[in-house]
């Protein structure tokens, strides 16, 4: 065993793929979550993103439909 056996990469999408996805898919069919702080969100966010700071995510999972693709940034 090496230490990397305990980890796996998180699935990531490059910004271009996210851009294309947001253009093609209806907003009802995905979750787009801004996990930064409220101030960062206020300074600018992706169109339609909902703010759930990472520290609140666990307690606010009900706000997200887990059957839909979910993009975080």
């Amino acid at each position: 065993m090496g230490i990397m056996d305990y980890f796996k990469p998180v699935d990531t999408w490059p910004p271009d793929k996210v851009r294309q996805f947001l253009n093609e898919v209806s907003p009802q069919d995905y979750n787009l979550v801004d996990v930064r702080t409220p101030k960062e969100y206020e300074q600018g966010h992706l169109p339609g993103a909902q703010l759930i700071p990472v520290g609140e995510l666990e307690s606010r999972l009900k706000e997200l439909d887990r059957t839909k693709p979910t993009i975080t940034y």
């Binding site: 065993m1 998180v10 851009r19 979550v33 101030k39 990472v54 520290g55 997200l64 979910t70």
Partner: protein
């Protein structure tokens, strides 16, 4: 980096498709992404032995403790220096809790294997969450803004919470469950303090 930790939380909670956008908002805006090399791994939920997971958690607490201690020394602002110092001290306490749980499971004779032999790790190499080498992360922090360091620290804590939740779910004994629950709560408190510091910094 926070978003990768967030995507890992969503996967753990049964979201079939959770993706983190590479490079975050900066990359979206065409800017260079920040982050130490290789950051962005989540725990693999497999049937590892509980002793191994305890050893892994201990190694990661030690890495985090050293990381925060170093960050504390570098901060010029007294509030930030105190925050990092306290986080480092807390992680040291977590090591003690983990070792005591390990001893109860494995018996005192097994101490010499803990933690590195259990994980086949060489001595003298420290790791952070996601298997990031402490040295690489410290190298990366050179020349980074406090904001990036806080962002990285938030992702460390979010991953630590993830690990302790998984360990709590797997633990058989009631006492071990309680210890892991207490640890994840303490890491949640760290995450709150770090995000508050980040929020203060952004204005």
């Amino acid at each position: 980096m926070r978003s990768r930790a967030a995507a890992a939380v969503l996967s753990r909670e049964g979201f079939k498709e959770a993706y983190s956008m590479e490079g975050g908002i900066r990359a979206w805006n065409g800017l260079r992404a920040a982050g130490p090399p290789e950051a962005g791994m989540a725990y693999f939920e497999t049937a590892q032995k509980p002793e191994e997971m305890i050893a892994l958690a201990w190694i990661l607490e030690e890495g985090a403790s050293k990381f925060y201690r170093e960050m504390g020394k570098r901060q010029k602002g007294p509030d930030e220096a105190a925050l990092f110092k306290e986080l480092s001290e807390d992680e040291e306490k977590h090591k003690t809790s983990l070792f005591s749980i390990y001893q109860k499971r494995a018996g005192k004779g097994a101490d010499s294997a803990f933690p590195r032999s259990l994980l086949s790790l060489e001595s003298g190499v420290d790791y952070l969450e996601g298997g990031v080498l402490l040295n690489k992360a410290l190298e990366w922090t050179q020349g980074q803004e406090l904001r990036d360091i806080l962002d990285f620290s938030v992702s460390l804590e979010a991953n630590a919470i993830d690990l302790y939740i998984k360990m709590e779910r797997k633990a058989e004994g009631g006492e071990a469950k309680e210890v892991f629950r207490a640890l994840s709560n303490q890491e949640r408190n760290h995450l709150k303090r770090l995000t508050a510091a980040l929020q203060t910094l952004i204005s």
